[in-house]
């Protein structure tokens, strides 16, 4: 397909050749598996993969069961909460980095990326030590006589969200930092010059300038969190099960590929539609339009 196109577009064969390898890679290792998954999801009721004999929507009917819907809703809730908290922590951090002298910026960014040098699994297990009944947090709280007996922190929704926030920060800070760093610093002076206080300048100049970065960061955090299974698996308990855990279970011990495929396809559709709408809505310039304020 791509070989026929360049001619019609006015001929840039070099570009077509250069895009070919990633294109093939994505087709073979992404598009085809996703399509196979989608196909498997149309198997009739039961745990066997039989799409061609009698394609049906039985698996999707099962996903609409209240139990699975509640898990999906919970996943959306966790992802939204984790993304929001990440944003609230990441924004000041990004702002601080962007307003530091250039040399310090390099070091601070290095620190932001540092956690990515270690395996996520190892880092999540370390949270067991921090949040455990005998963990760091409880020891400090007891030493300060704030609590008498250890709080139950690990294997709770709180632990899962904390884990997500920790996991997401290195993906949220850089895009916001990049947007703020790109902002012309004389805009801040212009705003002050025109009579705006620091708070008003932040609201009407800094936040609009950061929006493209915030939009990118939110997608980078929300989407992987929504489908994550490793964080709730390690830090959560039975009541924190997310859609990712259910899907993983269907392909693993559950051995129910058709149902797992249906859930996965549904999630993919949800994310695709959601992100598309989000990008359209969050298009910079629209948000900061005239109606931003009276």
């Amino acid at each position: 397909m791509p070989e026929q196109r360049p001619r019609r577009r006015g001929g840039r064969p070099e570009i077509a050749i250069l895009t070919l390898p990633p294109f093939i890679w994505l087709v073979v290792f992404f598009l085809i598996p996703v399509l196979i998954l989608a196909a498997v999801s149309f198997s009739p009721a039961g745990m066997t993969v039989e799409i061609f004999r009698a394609p049906s929507l039985d698996q999707y009917r099962q996903t609409l069961d209240a139990f699975y819907l509640s898990i999906l809703l919970r996943s959306l809730g966790y992802a939204a909460a984790a993304t929001l908290i990440t944003l609230l922590i990441a924004f000041p951090a990004a702002y601080f980095i962007a307003s530091s002298p250039p040399r310090r910026q390099v070091w601070l960014l290095f620190l932001v990326f540092l956690p990515l040098w270690t395996n996520l699994l190892v880092r999540l297990y370390s949270f067991k030590i921090i949040l455990g009944d005998n963990g760091l947090v409880n020891q400090v709280l007891e030493a300060l006589a704030i609590v008498d007996e250890p709080l139950t922190l690990i294997y709770t929704p709180l632990a899962v969200v904390v884990g997500f926030v920790y996991w997401n920060l290195p993906y949220m800070i850089p895009p916001i930092y990049a947007a703020l760093e790109r902002m012309n610093p004389s805009l801040l002076e212009a705003s002050m010059d025109l009579g705006a206080s620091r708070a008003a300048t932040f609201r009407y100049v800094v936040i609009p300038a950061s929006l493209p970065g915030v939009a990118a960061g939110v997608i980078l955090c929300f989407v992987p969190t929504l489908g994550s299974f490793i964080v709730p698996d390690i830090l959560g308990g039975p009541e924190t099960m997310m859609v990712g855990n259910v899907i993983a279970a269907q392909f693993g011990p559950g051995l129910n590929w058709p149902f797992g495929s249906a859930l996965a396809t549904l999630l993919t559709l949800l994310v695709t539609v959601g992100v598309t709408l989000y990008i359209r809505y969050a298009e910079p310039g629209r948000l900061a339009g005239r109606d931003g304020r009276g």
């Binding site: 805009l187 010059d193 910079p284």
Partner: protein, 374 residues
């Protein structure tokens, strides 16, 4: 005149007054202690090369930089410690600093918006401001969709709509191409006349300063070299720097030979005795610098008459400038003198029929040229 006098009497205070203001960054004195008074309605220009401290001075008036020492008074009120958002002063930035995510309307309305001006009034004033700068119909464009000249106008409208006591302009024309810049120069003059707002304009471009300003302060290495009207600046530069920076000037070392009530004799290049009219504070025998503008000089094939002075030399190169031709003449002692001749004197592609390497007299009236303390 009587009316003007009454006006001055009613406002005994200068509108803006800088009192021994200075700025240092560590060991570097960017602005040396200096005083300045600007009257209401002036178009004041601070002219100087890059790094002379002129932008720092402007930033101190705007409130972005705090002076190391000294005070700033606006209408007699000390505003040295007042933050920029509470100063009745607006700035047009060198790069315009338009808010890229707001349409032209919202950029211009920004000052009114943060002051919570009613929507109807805001709309009316924005439209009036856009009309003033000739941008009616552009209110829904984003800054990125405008040309440099149009962005410049938006920046002007955004500042003027607040009706500031003082408008500061930081090299507002330097980012524009030459033709647009010259056009904007005219519009800026009109705008200042129409609005009656006091303008303080910072530039490195002497042509802008001379054509726009009512008064010009020439700044060099953190000090004011001279502060006067453009004509005086050009005709009577008080330092060698001013003579060289405003227009251009040939300089020669000389010695005072004679000081009279209305004449000054100077010997220069060891050959001529040059006389210049006008009293002065020079003493005989004092070393001086004699300055001559290229356009004050004339070519002649014969020796200067008694009302003229002259130097003899050989034409070395010619530069065609369009309206004039600039010729470099090598004098007999090895020094070089630049001469600018209007091109209406051209004969068949040659200035006065001069050939390269031709030997000529370079003459000037005894009244022209300036004598400075060495």
């Amino acid at each position: 005149m009587a009316g003007a006098q009454a006006l001055i009497n009613r406002h005994p205070l200068p509108m803006l007054e800088l009192k021994t203001i200075s700025k240092r960054y560590g060991d570097v004195a960017v602005v040396q202690p200096l005083d300045l008074k600007i009257e209401e309605g002036e178009f004041f220009c601070i002219l100087g090369p890059s790094g002379c401290g002129k932008t720092t001075l402007l930033r101190m008036i705007a409130g972005f930089d705090r002076p190391t020492a000294g005070r700033i008074l606006l209408d007699g009120v000390d505003i040295t410690a007042v933050p920029p958002n509470r100063r009745d002063v607006n700035t047009v930035f060198q790069n315009y600093a338009l808010f890229p995510h707001y349409q032209v309307f919202d950029n211009v309305a920004y000052g009114l918006m943060v002051r919570k001006t009613p929507a109807a009034e805001t709309h009316e004033r924005v439209m009036a401001a856009l009309q003033l700068v000739g941008l009616s119909g552009f209110e829904h464009r984003l800054p990125a969709q405008l040309s440099g000249g149009q962005q410049q106008r938006v920046a002007l409208a955004r500042a003027l709509i607040n009706r500031p006591r003082l408008l500061l302009l930081d090299e507002p024309l330097s980012a524009l191409d030459r033709k647009t810049g010259e056009q904007m120069r005219g519009e800026l003059a009109d705008l200042q006349a129409k609005s009656g707002i006091t303008f303080v304009f910072v530039t490195h471009n002497q042509a802008e300063a001379l054509s726009l300003a009512s008064r010009v302060a020439v700044m060099n290495q953190g000090v004011f070299e001279q502060c006067s009207t453009p004509a005086e600046l050009y005709q009577r530069p008080r330092t060698r720097f001013v003579g060289d920076f405003v227009g251009s000037m040939n300089f020669f070392q000389g010695v005072v030979t004679e000081v009279g009530a209305d004449r000054l004799g100077v010997e220069l290049l060891g050959q001529s005795r040059i006389e210049r009219r006008g009293a002065s504070d020079f003493r005989p025998g004092e070393p001086v610098v004699f300055g001559l503008r290229p356009e004050q000089l004339r070519f002649s094939l014969i020796e200067p008459k008694d009302f003229e002075n002259g130097l003899f030399g050989q034409v070395e190169r010619t530069l065609f400038l369009g309206e004039a031709t600039q010729l470099a003449v090598r004098l007999s002692n090895g020094e070089r003198i630049e001469v600018k001749v209007p091109n209406y004197l051209m004969l068949e592609d040659k200035v006065m029929g001069l050939e390269p390497n031709e030997q000529v007299w370079v003459n000037w009236s005894k009244g022209s040229g300036i004598v400075l303390h060495a």
